[in-house]
Symmetry: C3
Subunit: 156 residues, 3 copies
């Protein structure tokens, strides 16, 4: 990278960019999975999306909610709710003077927790599989937030 800001002199920030990118790509894939399930289950929400299935009642019957589609949409929303705080926390955490190994531990647990959360939600696995996956990522984000607060609020 053009090293204008020295983002890459900081190996922890480099690690954040690597893990953050994978996590955001994973979140983006939820859009594709939603589209796939909408096609497969023929369950749409906009009248213009069903026009190719014919007219009138023929098309209208595909304007419906489907449990599998809604499930994928919930995963996507849960990703937004959890990954956005991670991106904020993970970025500033990488400047907090934390060691690379500690930071990697945080980033890796978070990545693992979101991947496992998605699998547990999609299958679905019996609880508390999904709950524990979510909790792991949630606590890791709080741990990074705590470090940022400890540093940022003790500086003059």
């Amino acid at each position: 990278m053009r090293n204008v800001h020295g983002f890459l002199d900081n190996d922890v920030t480099l690690a954040f960019i690597r893990y953050g990118t994978i996590i955001v790509v994973k979140m983006m894939l939820m859009s594709t999975i939603t589209a796939f399930f909408r096609m497969k289950k023929k369950a749409f929400v906009n009248p213009e999306d069903t026009a190719s299935f014919g007219k009138g009642e023929n098309a209208k019957k595909y304007l419906r909610t489907d449990p599998d589609v809604e499930r994928v949409r919930r995963i996507h929303l849960n990703d937004l709710e959890n990954i956005i705080p991670f991106l904020f926390a993970g970025f500033f955490y990488s400047f907090s003077g934390v060691s690379l190994s500690t930071a990697l531990l945080h980033y890796r647990i978070f990545l693992g927790s979101r991947i496992f959360h998605t699998i547990a939600y999609l299958v679905p696995l019996p609880q508390p599989a999904r709950g524990l996956a979510w909790m792991a990522g949630y606590l890791v984000t709080f741990s990074m937030m705590y470090k940022i607060i400890m540093i940022a609020f003790t500086m003059s």
Copy 2:
């Protein structure tokens, strides 16, 4: 913090990190409040979440929407819609050459507006309490955006 980027030489960016962290923690707490209301009101959305309440019809009756749960979820979504623009604007605003006191005014009004918005939504307080709280944060974000536009679009 490891001062690789001089983020902390800039007292306005330091202020942004402080207020941004508090605001993101507040947003994250909505997940816990949602979980709390789902437990309290026994209102779940995934069949696997109700398995511990028994089988068949016994568990099925807990698959329902509850007004209080939906209320908390709306707060969370409203947070996402408003706090994400704030994080974007607040970060770049802190490099716009604005004075610390002006920036603090913006950050503090936004933090106050979101906390009051959450209280007004949860209680709920009569309107226009919630509407005004939302408006305050919205206008503060636009004010920061305006400053960024004025600076970024006049540079060569």
Copy 3:
């Protein structure tokens, strides 16, 4: 801007700030459009929002979902799902050593795709107008992600 980080020495980052600001302002306007449609169609979700329309049954009839309101809300959620990855990718992409002209191509296609997506969703235009608009922005974000991955994962 106070050039503490040299953000503005980097003309690609300056371009990101310009386009990112316009895109975030566009996303924020969805809140106002939602409010406008709620007023126009008298379709609200919170009992306290309908209090000014009278009491009891008189007010209750305005607690309803309206297709136009829901349409605007879907645009807003789709914006969140797509613009957040863009902000993450676009920021780090601007440090990837990419040329200004290539970066501008990415930022401009994304901005155009989101504006056209909103118009296609609001009108609504027949499919695949909205689908192609969404796809353009989605692929551009992946293209930036790919570049970030190629750079960040090949550094020692």
